[in-house]
């Protein structure tokens, strides 16, 4: 009598038809794109020796703190931080993690710009990075609108003119606290997390962009060489 261990049969024993399954195809693609040593590498190219590389991971961990402190505020409700000293402290952590997030992200972006980090088939990595910055601006903006204090009153009554001028005010009412709060704590964080997640996966997939190759005189990057690196 054989004992059922609960493990599925080995893929190699399956019919070849099964290999056309959506599930099988996605698994094969994921294994091909992200082998474990690429997803969690323990080696990096030697040129990756600059403080500028730290700002990428600082941006990601700042985002983690933004989400953690935001979740604590969400657990206790939107009015908690106005009436509780603990709530005010958590709100302060949330504020400063947002400031840190943008500070690190902007330095990271400038660093990547001056590295021309889109080279070598890394254009989508750049695109997702910039889009995550733009969506984060929107997420932060809705946070300012959700404060329920004078600041949010002033920002919303001023911002409505710009939003309305584009026509977006027809559906996106910055004076509607409930709508802005939902965008801030549900919709935009989901979008930011998805895009940042995709961005990090692309970084792992494509690797870190190599330096410009210098010509013989050590001054200018090579203008022409045979072929390209699909990286």
């Amino acid at each position: 009598m054989s004992i059922d261990t609960g493990a599925p049969p080995s893929p190699s024993t399956q019919d070849s038809e099964d290999s056309r399954q959506w599930t099988a195809r996605v698994r094969r693609s994921a294994e091909s794109a992200f082998p474990p040593d690429r997803l969690l590498p323990d080696r990096q190219p030697a040129y990756m020796a600059s403080w500028i590389y730290v700002f990428g991971v600082l941006t990601v961990v700042s985002l983690a703190w933004v989400i953690i402190t935001g979740c604590v505020l969400a657990v206790m409700g939107p009015s908690w931080w106005h009436v509780s000293s603990v709530g005010l402290f958590v709100n302060s952590l949330h504020l400063w993690s947002v400031e840190a997030f943008f500070f690190f992200m902007v330095i990271h972006l400038w660093g990547k710009f001056f590295m021309a980090a889109w080279r070598g088939n890394r254009r989508l990595t750049w695109v997702t990075g910039v889009v995550s910055f733009l969506v984060s601006v929107g997420a932060a903006f809705t946070g300012y609108l959700s404060q329920q204090n004078f600041d949010s009153q002033w920002i919303s009554t001023q911002a409505k003119d710009g939003i309305n001028a584009t026509g977006a005010g027809a559906v996106w009412n910055v004076l509607n606290f409930g709508q802005m709060l939902m965008w801030h704590i549900v919709l935009l964080p989901i979008v930011v997390a998805l895009i940042v997640g995709l961005h990090v996966l692309l970084v792992r997939r494509r690797g870190i962009v190599p330096p410009f190759e210098l010509a013989k005189n050590g001054d200018e990057p090579e203008k022409a060489a045979a072929g390209t690196d699909p990286a």
């Binding site: 600059s50 703190w65 695109v127 509607n176 190759e213």
Partner: protein
């Protein structure tokens, strides 16, 4: 894409890279992330302990009408006669003709129309006063105003606007010089008194249901007055103070909006009646350029020309030169 002699794409240093064949060094990515996580925790905890965060109390219609009843009354009469900022705003609040911002034929606000309808006379003045019990004189004044011809209504509100310009605030009570403003004096006086009790805040939020989270109407009313703007100005939050980047007190605000707010400081946007749409148009184009920068010739060459990369990879180039 230009191609070489054998049909292969020609190497473009702003698009392509040579495959890295140099050394690899040990790198503990999870340890780096964990240390960074703790370092950022320490940083934000330190900033939170030392600086806390700002929380300037919200302005209410009650506090506004108590602190500055003259400004409140001056604003209220413009809501009644339809000359306030909100009353003449156009979409999405009302259908005021030619009020939408536009660039040539491009007029998205007008195209999308009214979606948050606001009738300032009914919603901000007459409707709230109609909810007041045991005030027959006020109800008679409203009826007289509503039954009067439009020209008479305008004559009354114009006379009241002149009179209220010389009104005084005596210990929180509004004193308006006598004039030929008919029932308007009673209407605005009652609205001011109602607001000072806090009743107007609740009434403007009321939507017929118990719960409400939409503050559109009270915020529009507040924004039509000078009190909110004066308070913002004292907190360096006004547009000409680059207020979009600022925060109440001395806290950093949305500093990342520096480019957006900069366009509001320069001609022609700083004086244009279509300034918001023009600034948004510029920012949309710049944002698209930023997103698709790797595909744009010239712009994608800037990193190579500026040579800042030599500073970033200075150790690599030094070792390359030494070898």
């Amino acid at each position: 894409m230009s191609r070489g002699a054998r049909g292969r794409p020609r190497f473009n240093p702003d698009r392509d890279v040579e495959e890295w064949k140099g050394a690899y060094v040990p790198y503990d990515i999870l340890k780096e992330a964990f240390v960074a996580f703790l370092a950022v925790a320490a940083l934000i905890a330190l900033l939170a302990i030392v600086f806390s965060s700002p929380d300037e109390h919200a302005v209410t219609l009650k506090s506004w009408s108590a602190v500055d009843p003259v400004d409140f009354a001056q604003t209220a009469v413009t809501e009644l006669d339809g000359t306030s900022g909100t009353a003449t705003y156009g979409p999405p609040y009302n259908a005021t003709p030619d009020a939408s911002q536009h660039i040539g034929f491009f007029e998205p606000n007008q195209w999308l129309g009214v979606h948050q309808p606001v009738d300032t006379a009914q919603d901000f003045v007459i409707g709230p006063l109609r909810t007041l019990p045991n005030q027959p004189a006020t109800q008679l004044a409203i009826t007289a105003y509503e039954n009067a011809p439009a020209a008479q209504q305008t004559a009354w509100t114009t006379a009241y606007e002149k009179a209220v310009a010389n009104a005084t605030d005596v210990r929180g009570r509004l004193h308006v010089p006598v004039g030929r403003y008919g029932p308007v004096g009673r209407i605005i006086g009652s609205l001011t008194a109602m607001s000072q009790t806090g009743g107007l805040d609740g009434t403007l939020l009321s939507n017929g249901q118990f719960y409400n989270t939409n503050y559109t109407k009270p915020l529009l009313f507040l924004a039509d007055g000078n009190y909110l703007a004066a308070r913002a100005d004292s907190q360096h939050l006004s547009g000409d103070q680059w207020g979009m980047m600022n925060e109440t007190g001395n806290y950093p605000g949305q500093a990342w909006l520096w480019l957006y707010t900069m366009w509001y400081q320069v001609p022609p946007m700083n004086t244009s009646s279509n300034g918001d749409l023009e600034v948004w148009g510029i920012m949309m184009l710049l944002s698209l350029g930023f997103v698709f920068l790797p595909f744009i010739p010239f712009l994608r060459s800037i990193p190579r020309w500026t040579r800042v990369y030599k500073l970033i990879w200075r150790r690599h180039y030094r070792e390359l030169a030494a070898s």
